[in-house]
């Protein structure tokens, strides 16, 4: 198959599926899920073939979307290691989530709508992965936002879900503003938006000249693009939407809000790394925001009791890790962690979905317990995922996490002692909260009626868990990572490597032991830190900001509008017209004689004007 038809199929097939399902929603009620799942399997097949495609540095043109003068923005595809590997991850996890959803959403009334939105998401995500220019990426960036909105708000009758969907959408707008500003700055500097052309320009062209003389412009452009990534990848302070997005169906959380869409920010940063890497300021800001997000989210995760919320904060924390790695000059390390994280985090979410499904939609871990006997497959896969996330040696997460720690280690080019300490602390906390989750949910005795009656999930839900368990263990090894086109970082040698390894191991052990000791046989949370449980009060801060800032501002704007728009331009002319009208109304006396008199007066005046009035002197 030609690469262009391959990528075209990958892009357009889910679009067709989404359109067909959404347009013939009622007609396809009972087959929509099969259509969507079938399409996802075909896409995965295409992605597998695509792994062997040749590099196309100048991109493949599918469709000339915009052409104004010398400016072009096409629907075109970039083919390189990064896009091949990412497409594999997206379609692989997408396919598994589709299959898993067959079981999870079996009894949902709006199953067709769900699968239609899932197809739309696959279309949009593939578009981001394959985009060879920033405009196309931005279009699909917005499209994933829309499909994410649709899927978070799938149970829109629940006010929390509707609010969460709205929150996710609005928060992302802030990021998109930055993304667009970044694109516009780059377009303004060079006149094109193609990533390949921008990179060429940065190596020897306009951007190169600008970087040498006006570095702040490049910094500004990089920060704009990073703001977009902050929105999509939920970096502090725009992270608030991701935990709330857990109101969506769990398979959606696994696919969109853990493995793929939220990673799009990191993916994009790595795509435009030549811009970010060109300015130290940009890199530092990105690294710090990533580090702060990682640590803060990990602290918040330690005090949550909702199983999905814990995983959500964990996702935030891991995304912070990746972003920090990119900021510290390790795009490969960031992408590699994205790649391993996608597998085990998707599996953890799907596992939590199985638990939730078994416990009749109970999400509080303190009402679970003792599940390891009732759900052995779920437990073992969940345990593997937890180990991978904690960074237990020889698991996938271990390799990628160590890579990031190595980048942060001061010995490395951009390394930073404080950030390294924060990263190690985060790793410790990760081990701590994941152990806490497993101990509380799966061990001890059942603390709720639902947990008591729990039983293993159906096969379509177990199967994706088992399939994902393999890459969760093995993805870090070269024999799997290389054929899957992951960006494997170079191994760091030297004295630092041993320190990094030691810190990493100590972090896992400390976290694990502390959690085991604290939570074994605990019936309620023995630790109680309101600051962490309440997410550092950031939501409250925003609410206050909106309440006191926005309301005041809105009051001012309303007042101005009332005076100038409503008053001077609308009400005043209206009042004049109506006043004139009431005055003229008096002339309509209704008296025939008065009318005749005026008529006669008119005759006299006309005669005067026609005969006697003269403009000549």
């Amino acid at each position: 198959m030609e690469p262009i038809s391959l990528t075209g199929t990958v892009l357009l097939l889910p679009l067709a599926s989404a359109l067909v399902i959404m347009l013939f929603h009622g007609l396809l009620k009972n087959v929509a899920h099969l259509v969507s799942t079938g399409v996802s399997i075909i896409m995965f097949g295409c992605a597998l073939i695509f792994l062997g495609a040749e590099d196309q540095p100048n991109g493949l043109l599918l469709y000339e979307y915009l052409k104004v003068g010398t400016f072009t923005a096409d629907i075109g595809f970039v083919v390189d290691t990064q896009s091949r590997g990412m497409l594999f991850i997206v379609t692989f996890i997408g396919m598994l989530v589709h299959i898993y959803s067959l079981g999870y959403m079996k009894d949902d009334d709006a199953r067709a709508r769900y699968f239609g939105a899932l197809s739309l998401f696959m279309f949009s995500m593939n578009g981001i992965v394959l985009a060879d220019n920033l405009v196309m990426m931005f279009i699909f960036w917005e499209l994933v936002g829309v499909s994410s909105y649709l899927l978070i708000g799938h149970w829109f009758k629940k006010p929390e879900a509707a609010d969460a969907a709205k929150k996710a959408f609005l928060t992302n707008r802030v990021g998109d503003f930055g993304f667009m500003a970044g694109i516009l700055i780059l377009f303004g500097l060079t006149g094109h938006v193609s990533i390949a052309q921008l990179q060429g320009s940065m190596e020897s062209g306009a951007l190169n000249h600008i970087r040498d003389n006006y570095e702040w412009i490049i910094t500004l452009a990089g920060l704009g693009l990073f703001l977009g990534a902050m929105g999509k990848s939920a970096q502090a302070p725009l992270h608030v939407w991701l935990p709330d997005a857990m109101e969506g169906p769990t398979p959606v959380s696994a696919l969109i809000h853990a493995a793929t869409m939220v990673a799009a920010g990191v993916y994009m940063l790595v795509r435009v790394y030549f811009i970010i890497g060109a300015s130290h300021v940009t890199g530092d800001i990105i690294a710090w925001i990533g580090g702060i997000t990682a640590l803060m989210a990990a602290l918040m995760a330690t005090q949550q009791s909702d199983i999905k919320k814990i995983l959500a904060y964990s996702t935030l924390s891991q995304l912070g890790y990746m972003v920090m790695a990119v900021g510290l000059g390790g795009p490969k390390e960031g992408m590699f962690h994205l790649y391993t994280h996608a597998f085990f985090k998707a599996m953890l979410f799907l596992g939590s979905g199985a638990v939730i499904y078994a416990c009749h939609h109970e999400q509080n871990i303190w009402k679970m317990g003792g599940l390891y006997k009732k759900m052995p497959v779920t437990f073992w896969t969940f345990a593997i995922g937890t180990a991978a996330l904690m960074g237990v040696p020889l698991m996938a997460g271990f390799w990628s996490k160590e890579g990031i720690l190595a980048v942060a280690y001061p010995e490395h080019g951009h390394g930073n002692g404080i950030l390294f300490g924060m990263a190690v602390l985060t790793a410790t906390l990760t081990a701590f909260y994941m152990t806490r989750l497993v101990v509380v949910a799966f061990f001890g005795k059942a603390r709720g009626k639902d947990a008591d009656h729990a039983h293993e999930a159906p096969l379509v839900m177990i199967l994706p868990l088992v399939v994902l368990a393999f890459p969760s263990v093995l993805a870090g090894y070269h024999f799997l990572a290389e054929p899957l086109q992951a960006l494997v970082p170079n191994h760091h040698e030297g004295a630092g490597a041993k320190v990094v390894m030691g810190c990493s191991l100590v972090a896992v052990i400390v976290g694990f032991l502390a959690a085991t000791r604290l939570y074994r046989n605990a019936d309620k949370d023995p630790v109680n830190i309101p600051l962490f449980a309440n997410k550092f009060y950031i939501d409250e801060f925003y609410a206050g900001l909106v309440k006191y800032g926005q309301d005041r501002f809105a009051w001012l704007v309303t007042a101005l509008e009332r005076i100038f728009v409503d008053g001077l331009t609308v009400r005043l002319p209206a009042a004049l017209a109506s006043g004139l009208g009431s005055w003229m109304r008096g002339l309509q006396s209704g008296s025939l004689q008065a009318y005749t008199f005026v008529l006669g007066l008119g005759i006299v005046v006309v005669v005067y004007l026609a005969v006697f009035f003269s403009t000549k002197p």
């Binding site: 003229m584 109304r585 008096g586 002339l587 309509q588 006396s589 209704g590 008296s591 025939l592 004689q593 005749t596 008199f597 006669g600």
Partner: protein, 105 residues
């Protein structure tokens, strides 16, 4: 001697009398008669000019044709107008125009 001006003056006076009648009187029938008077005054002007402007040695018969049309229209107008007056009288039991003030704004 009787000149064109004499005829025109008589016509103007008759028209003025009609105008005063329309403005002063309230009886719709009288107003109607005054209107007819004004129309006839106009006819007198037309006929006078017709006689004093010779075409091929004869009075201008175009003007007289116009007078003929005016009289026809006036007759039709009287017929319709009187029917309206009858209808109005049925509704108001009066031919006084002060009884009809629906157009008052």
């Amino acid at each position: 001697m009787v000149t064109l001006n004499h005829y025109l003056l008589v016509s103007g006076l008759l028209f003025s009398i009609g105008l005063v009648g329309v403005v002063v009187r309230r009886n719709i029938l009288t107003i109607y008669m005054c209107l007819e008077m004004m129309l006839s005054a106009a006819n007198l002007t037309l006929v006078a000019f017709s006689r004093f402007r010779l075409v091929e040695g004869l009075p201008d018969y175009n003007a007289q044709a116009l007078v003929f049309f005016t009289i026809t229209v006036a007759a039709a107008e009287v017929a319709v107008g009187l029917a309206i007056i009858v209808a109005l009288f049925r509704a108001r039991q009066s031919v006084d125009i002060t009884a009809v003030e629906k157009l008052k704004g």
